[in-house]
Structure formats: C-alpha cells, structure tokens
C-alpha cells in the first residue's frame, strides 16, 4: 500500500481527543483519541462492544459525548447534530441500516438532497433517478432498478444503497462501519476501488471491519480499542495479522478454524429440484450428518432464498426428504418440529426483537425446554440462557438488558446463541458470523465443529471466502438462482470458487 500522507504542516483532517461516552451503567468510551490525515484510510479495530460504533456515532453527531474535543482541519467543532456533521462533510455508513424501507432506492440514496426545481420544492425525479443510478454505477454496483423500494432488496444490495448514499458527494470524512459484512467477492473489490479513488481525491476514510485481511488490504494506519479504551494506533505496515489480533484480544489466537475429519454417512437431508419461480430453480443436493456444507455465491445469487425455502419460511416446489421421510414444511414451526433450524442473515429484520431482553430473545424458540404447562420456569430459563451467553461470548450488562443496547456483534451472538440453545439436527446458518469479532468467530467455529462431530448436519451460507474454505467439508456454489458447482474441500481455492460464482468457468467440478 503506497500512499502519500499529507505533510505534517497541514493540520490533521480529524482530531478527536479524550472522547468519553457512557450509557447508563456501561462506559462505552474512555478518553479515546483518534487522528486521521487527509487522504488516509484508517482502520478502527477491536472486539465486539469495544466502542467502535459509539465513537463513530459521536463523530456523526448522532450521540452526544460526555467529554472530549473534536477538531476538523484544525478548527474545533461541536457536532451537536447529524445535520451539523453533514455540514462538516462527514458521511457515515452505519452498522445497522438507516434506510427508509418503503421508499425507492433513488430516494434513499438522495435522502435530504433530492434534486429540485423552483426554489427547492419541486422534485426532479428524472434527475434523481439519473444521479442515483450514476452513484451506484460509479461504484460498480449492480442494482438494476433505482425505483424499487429498498424493502424488496436483499441485505447485500441494501448495503450497497447505504454505501452509495454516503459516497454521493465527495465527503471530507467517510466512515464505513462494517460495510463488508454482507458483501462478497467482486462487490468487495468494487467497494475497495471506490474507497481508494476517494482517498486519492483527499477524503479521509475510517474503516471498521472484523475481516482482518481486508483491514490490511485497505488501511494504512490502524487504531485499536478495547473495552472502550484506546489500545494504540499503529502503521499497518508495522504489524501483521497475529500482532493485530494480540492488540485487540490481548492474547494469541492460534488457529481459528478447528481441524475436523468428517466420516462419510448417508444423507440426512436430500433436496431435489427445489424451485421458487423467478427466484431460484432446480436446486438439488444432499446433506449428511456430521457434515458442514458451505454455500458460496455472489450477492443475490439466491442462497438466502434457498435456505428460507428449506426452512419453510417461503413456499417452494420440488421434493425434500428428511431422515427417509418426505419433508414439506408449511411453516418454520413445521421445520423446527422436524429438527430443521435456520439462522437468518438479517438479524434486525428476521432475528431479533430489539426492545425485548436477551433472555426473551434467546429463549423464544426454546420455550419447551424451560416451561411446563405453558408456565416459564424463570430459574431454568436463566440457567440455560446464561450458559448459552457464556458459550457464544455475549457481552451484555445483564441478561435482562434489551438487545437494542448491545453492540452489533453482540447482537449477532445473541442470534447464534438462540439457535444453538434451540438445537436441531439440521442447522441452516445464513451468514452466522456477520459482524462478529475474530475471537468470537473462532469460538463459533469451534461450536459448529463440535456440533458436526455430534452428528448434526450443517449448511453454512457465507460471503466470507476464508470462512467457507476454513469450515466446509464440501462447498456448493450458486449463481443466478442455480447451483453451478460443487467442490470438495481439498479441491477448493478462492480463485476457483470466485470463478464459479462469477460464471467465468463452466461447471467443472462434480
């Protein structure tokens, strides 16, 4: 990464000093410093709940700080509101979506700055569509119709809309909080090249990601937080991945992907000709007990839809056999009663009840394990939920805290824990580690491996190639709603998977 950092005579683009913030009992930030030069890509790293998003929200004027000063280009600013932050040229892609679901893509991208005529009241829709399309195109993102409501888009495309919205005008400071968690392959590359060209034009970029290889690809300096406090800021060239992990976690992480050996077995779930008109078609595969099957594909390739259909969340046609018997779930309830569970990719929309407590969220599918005659045993519930929280490493002030107050990664762990607590013979995991920190990821991988060893059949959908490669016994690749390839672990490489997913090479693997 070669890149010119502005000479020292120029004041830093951003200088945050002594930023502190507390939420009731939780101290989210303790006197944190962050300095960014113009034209710098700066990574912000740290475990889940370290305070990254909070620092970003302070910078965006979305939450007030308790102490600390902020200087932009050398002059001190208050940033009392999001509006003020926008005025100061700060644009943010938040970790949790901030889109208006029923409005179109174009309107979301241009929210607050729709092109208008006649003294700013009369909207020029043609220009709006043009500008929004142009913004998406310049990023290389392929969102076909900017007039579609964002509610109808899959998570990945919503993420693109968010990014396009933030990059619309050359911002002075661009903040990306976990932008890549649901992006894969080419889209990620396109995001990076867009970031680089902004950087070259002088924008300072603050980049948050738990995918450490990305961090090293894009960032020149890295600031690490731990438990709300600053651990330090280092040059990316002066440290390697294990070193960064040590800074974040405070210890070495040996191998994050556990070693396993799958013994061949008869299939537990057989899927044949599964189709959903206009979405995916003719999907057939087997899933055996003790096996982890990865599903890779580019954005919108239909992985989520296939998984939902198997779980009975959407209607589909085709045949499925589970444990030697026909399996045709009419509802998720049906699927669960047959021992099939699904973790969905969009935790806010499908996974969590944000204002309810951790306790409630985690026990929802498992009421039968903690109740008799419909009465919940509070003690049993507490024990089960606590154990599971410990297992997946949820960090929360209390078991009764609303999940809304947890950091993004911890929310994801709640979802993972919820399904582990429920238990099932077939686990369909759609992007299970979205936004989870390295340490916790290793923990989740270990749990997945253990479950497989105990004979569970696991379908792992992921956009993160190392995760797919590290965890799967077999890998299925989807493109355009079809299964286009199957690779054994030994024959899979990043290049081959990407090629199959992008349709560069025809189906060459059996």
């Amino acid at each position: 990464m070669s890149q010119a950092v502005a000479p020292a005579s120029v004041p830093p683009r951003l200088e945050m000093r002594g930023i502190s913030k507390r939420y009731d009992a939780t101290i989210a930030l303790r006197a944190v410093d962050l300095v960014m030069q113009p034209g710098e890509v700066h990574a912000l790293a740290g475990e889940n709940g370290a305070g990254k998003s909070t620092l970003i929200k302070v910078l965006a004027g979305a939450v007030g700080r308790d102490a600390g000063t902020i200087k932009i280009d050398g002059s001190e600013t208050e940033l009392p509101s999001p509006h003020a932050a926008r005025q100061a040229g700060i644009r943010v892609v938040y970790q949790e979506f901030s889109l208006v679901p029923h409005l179109s893509v174009a309107e979301n991208i241009l929210l607050g700055q729709l092109p208008s005529r006649a003294a700013g009241v009369w909207i020029d829709w043609k220009a709006a569509a043009r500008r929004a399309s142009a913004a998406l195109e310049s990023l290389g993102f392929d969102v076909p119709d900017v007039r579609r409501p964002v509610a109808s888009l899959p998570v990945s495309q919503r993420q693109m809309v968010e990014i396009a919205k933030a990059m619309l005008q050359q911002p002075r400071i661009l903040v990306l909080d976990e932008p890549s968690a649901v992006l894969s392959g080419g889209d990620l590359d396109r995001l990076f090249s867009a970031v680089r060209s902004l950087r070259d034009a002088g924008t300072s970029v603050l980049y948050v990601s738990h995918r450490l290889d990305e961090v090293f690809q894009i960032a020149t300096r890295i600031t690490v937080l731990k438990d709300g406090a600053l651990v330090g800021t280092v040059d990316a060239s002066a440290i390697d991945q294990p070193g960064l992990v040590r800074m974040m976690v405070g210890r070495e992480l040996a191998e994050i992907y556990p070693r396993r050996s799958a013994t061949p077995a008869d299939p537990l779930l057989q899927v044949r000709g599964l189709s959903r008109p206009g979405v995916f078609s003719d999907v057939s595969f087997d899933l055996a007990p003790g096996e982890v099957v990865g599903v890779f594909g580019l954005v919108g390739s239909g992985r989520t839809d296939v998984v939902r259909a198997i779980f009975g969340a959407d209607r589909s046609t085709g045949a499925m056999v589970l444990d030697g018997q026909t399996y045709r779930p009419r509802s998720p309830g049906d699927a669960l009663s047959r021992g099939v569970a699904m973790l969905s990719e969009d935790r806010a929309r499908d996974g969590l009840i944000l204002q309810m407590s951790l306790r409630d969220n985690m026990s929802l599918p498992s009421f039968s394990r903690m109740s008799r005659y419909g009465l919940i045993s509070r003690l049993q519930q507490t024990v089960l939920v606590r154990d599971e929280m410990a297992e997946v490493g949820v960090r929360a002030p209390s078991i009764d805290a609303p999940v809304r107050r947890l950091s993004g990664g911890n929310q994801q762990k709640v979802v993972v824990g919820k399904w582990l607590l429920r238990g099932a013979r077939v686990l369909l995991l759609d992007e299970p580690t979205r936004g989870v920190d390295v340490g916790a990821k290793a923990e989740i991988y270990r749990i997945i491996a253990t479950l497989a060893e105990r004979g569970k059949a696991i379908l792992l959908v992921s956009s993160e190639l190392p995760e797919i490669l590290g965890m799967s016994d077999r890998i299925l690749v989807m493109r355009g709603g079809r299964l286009v390839g199957e690779f054994a672990r030994s024959e899979a490489t990043e290049e081959r998977l990407l090629a199959a997913a992008a349709g560069v090479v025809e189906e060459d693997a059996a």
Partner: protein, 328 residues
C-alpha cells in the same frame, strides 16, 4: 446418526416432479378474486336494480356526503404517513365552524372563512408542538387536544350559531353543471395533496419520517419541522371541512364532528395506509372515502333498516378491504 438408507435417486426424482404447492397456489389466487368480484357485483347490482343509484341527484348527493370525510381524511393521511394520528379533527371541525359562523356575522366571507381555517390550523399546530417538540405519543397528544378543543368550542358558544350570510352558503350549495362545487373543490384538494406528497421535498420528507425517523434525522433533515407541518395540514383540512360543513347545513354546532376521526382514519387505512407510518396514498384514501360513502349510500337506497345497516356496513368494510388487498 441416522441409519436409514438414502432414497434412491429414482424415487427422489419422482417426488421432485410432484408439484407440491401449485395446487394451493391456484386455490389462493382464485380465492383472492372472490371479494373483488363480490364487490363489483354489488355495485353493478345497485346500478341495475335501483333506478335511484345512478340518478344524477343521487350521485351528486354521494359527493356532497363524502366531502367532509374526504377533506378530513386528506389531512389525516398526511399525519398518518408521518407515523402519527390525529384524533382531534372532529373537535377542530366544530371549532372552525363555530368561529366561522361567529365571524361571518361580522366580516365578509372572504375574510371570515380564511380566518376560521387559520384558527383550525393553529389547533393543528398545538398538536404538532406536543408531538414534535414535547415528543408525546400522537395518540395521547391528540386525544388530549380533542378533549380540550371540544371544551373550548363549548366555552366559545354553548349554542349553535346561524350565520347571517348567504354568499358563501350559496357557493357551497352551488353546482358547476351537474357537479356540486364542493365535489370539485374536494377533488382539487386531493390532486393538490397528491402533488405535494409526490413532488415536493417536504412531502417526501414526511413519507420518509414515517418510514424511518432515525434515518431521516441522520440525513440531516429537520424532523420536527416536518412533523409539525403534517399536523398543521391536518388542522387546516379539518378547518376547511368545518367551515364548509357549517355552511352546508346552514348552522354551526358546537357538538358537530364526534366520531369523524374514526371515519377519516378508516378511509386512510382502507385505502392502504399503515398506521405505523410511511405507507399510504392519496389515491387509496380517495378510494377509501368513496367506498365508505358508497356503502352508506347503497344501504340507504335499499332502505336497509338502521340496525341492519350497521351490520352490513361492518361486513362491507371487511369485504372491501379484502378485495383491495388481494388485488394489490
């Protein structure tokens, strides 16, 4: 782990050919047309069997009957889009009527009527203040103002006021060709609001606030001002409805308007608006207003006995919403 043998590929492919859900899919589609068809049949039936239904007098009555709810619903829609609700519209109708009637006895109508509508708009501003600035839940805020405004109206005048003015009344009662002037006015208002909501930045902001207030705030838009605007608009339309209503019946009553809020909300929701905000359309609301008016008109034309009317009305609302929803 499982010891059962895997099914043979052949058995599986046979299974795969069974079109699992196609049948139920077909049944669902067929069912989805039943209410639509039922409703169309009903209207056609009315037109065919009752000479009165299509008579010009009746159709013009229909319009004269719906304009109050039409105007109020229009304002209500804007508030609902912003994820609010306005229960005070009925009281505001009475307020505007009483103020207008009082003023008409002193001032010429081109001054008195706008003044009365302005007073109603101020009442809307009170709601806006409570919701946008004091962040009260809209239901509570407007329930409180509903009570307070109604009390205030009675304090202003305990008895009905008859305005000694005929120019405005004649205007309201007049027709343009065969079409009642109020109907034209109402349709004009619908077009205007439709334009406002679709073509102006303020209109779009109100939609967006109802969809995701936080996102709008983060986009640097002044949420408070736009919420305020929504309630002002609602107050204004309730005021317009109030002054026209008072002129139409020839008297302003302090008790008028009880229950108007429910009818207006019903029209919006039947028209596809969501009380959670961010969803709804002027066209749908117009359909909702028309439908409610049509139902009551039909039931009267057929001289359905009053109690049965209420039962039918309930049933027809259900049917109509089912029909609309399945269509969409």
């Amino acid at each position: 782990m499982s010891s059962h043998p895997a099914l043979t590929e052949r058995a599986l492919s046979v299974l795969a050919r069974q079109v699992g859900t196609a049948r139920s899919e077909w049944r669902r589609r067929w069912l989805s047309y039943v209410p639509t068809v039922a409703f169309v049949v009903l209207a056609t039936f009315a037109a065919v069997t009752s000479d009165a239904f299509l008579s010009q007098g009746n159709l013009s009555n229909l319009f004269k009957q719906i304009f109050t709810n039409g105007l109020i619903s229009l304002g209500m829609l804007v508030v609902i889009l912003s994820a609010g609700i306005d229960l005070s519209v009925g009281a505001t109708v009475a307020l505007a009527g009483i103020v207008a009637a009082g003023l008409l006895n002193m001032l010429p109508w081109p001054i008195a009527i706008p003044l009365a509508v302005a007073v109603a708009t101020v009442a809307g501003g009170l709601n806006g203040t409570l919701v946008a600035w004091f962040r009260l839940p809209p239901f509570v805020a407007t329930l409180a103002t509903m009570s307070a405004i109604r009390g205030f109206v009675y304090v202003v005048s305990e008895t009905p006021i008859t305005p000694n003015e005929s120019a405005f009344r004649q205007l309201v009662a007049s027709n343009v060709g065969p079409v009642p002037t109020v109907a034209i006015f109402m349709v004009g208002c619908f077009l205007l609001v439709s334009f406002f909501l679709r073509q102006t930045t303020m209109g779009r902001a109100i939609y967006a606030i109802g969809g995701n207030e936080e996102a709008v705030r983060l986009a640097g838009i002044n949420v408070r001002a736009h919420v305020m605007l929504a309630y002002l608009i609602s107050g204004m339309f309730a005021g317009l409805a109030g002054v026209i209503l008072a002129s139409r019946v020839g008297i302003a009553q302090p008790s008028v308007g009880a229950g108007f809020e429910l009818d207006a909300i019903a029209a919006c929701v039947i028209g596809g608006a969501s009380l959670a905000g961010g969803r709804g359309s002027v066209r749908g609301t117009f359909a909702g207003v028309l439908l409610l008016g049509l139902i009551s008109n039909l039931l009267n034309l057929y001289s359905v006995q009053a109690y049965y009317q209420q039962i039918f009305k309930g049933a027809l609302i259900v049917l109509a919403v089912l029909a609309r929803r399945r269509e969409g």
